[in-house]
Amino acid sequence: MGEAMLIWPLRNSWEVFDELQREMERLFNLTLIGNRFFWEASRQYPPVNVYETDKEYLLLAPVPGLKPQDLEVTAIGDRLSIRGERRRQQISADETFRREERWMGSWFRTFSLPDRADSERISATLDNGLLMVRIAKLPESPVRQVHIRTA
């Protein structure tokens, strides 16, 4: 997070935008999946990594088991949201779970896009349970010299 702050010092870009959202998400998850308390608010699901090249920003998130129809990626203004759901499969009465380590439930994450992100040119691909969102960069605004006149 420190790195993100350095790059866009004026706001917490790429961070979930506020505590309320975080808390709601936590309650939402707890309600849906009952006893899975271990996923604390500090650890968001899914984890994301964000990269930048000269032409675009890349957001990478592992979402194993999800098909494109289980995922939603939306951009509104300077907010990018990803949402998804995975349910543990139903087993029959004569079957028993011996181990449940995989995280299941509904999740929702929102990020604020950096200034140069072009919200009109966002694409997303899902490959073997890995979501990649690509956000094109707007051309760098030219520096305009402002002429200063003497009063």
Binding site: V50, Y57, P64, D94, R99, R102, L130
Partner: protein, 142 residues
């Protein structure tokens, strides 16, 4: 019965250990679910980003190993801005319980999830013993 089964699963998962493949590759233990059916165990492991050709499941003796290499789709000139996860590959190994028929293990891989079917050898399956109804007594003459 349930004690026995817990032991079975315990022995299946107790041998996990991360192993370093090569020198600097990060290797992570993938989370998994195991459930038991009448026919055996079903194991499902999350291996996001692994492609079918980079996934290796092998059984040697009574050891089952899962190794999945991830080719992270990140351009060479990309610079990280924000990171919540470290990138690496997945490895997990198990000692198979005797109840599992190692020759009959099958695997499926879809959407980054590996599903292994570990059937029990037939003698370990619960078997229903048919109870023959003894010939009814001939109705006694009254």
């Amino acid at each position: 019965m349930s004690q026995r089964n817990d032991h079975l699963v315990q022995s299946l998962v107790s041998q996990e250990r991360p192993r370093s493949q090569g020198s600097e590759e990060n290797v992570f233990t993938p989370p998994l679910d195991i459930y038991e059916t009448v026919n055996g165990l079903v194991l499902e492991a999350d291996l996001p980003g692994v492609s079918g050709e980079n996934l290796r499941v092998c059984v040697q003796g009574n050891v089952l190993e899962i190794y999945g290499k991830v080719n992270w789709p990140i351009p060479a000139d990309a610079r990280p801005l924000y990171e919540e996860m470290r990138l690496g590959s997945f490895f997990r190994s198990f000692i198979l319980p005797e109840e599992v028929d190692a020759d009959a293990i099958t695997a499926e891989f879809q959407h980054g999830v590996l599903r292994l079917m570990l059937p029990k050898v037939s003698r370990a399956k619960p078997r229903r013993i048919e109870v023959k109804i003894a010939q009814a007594e001939p109705p006694s003459a009254s």
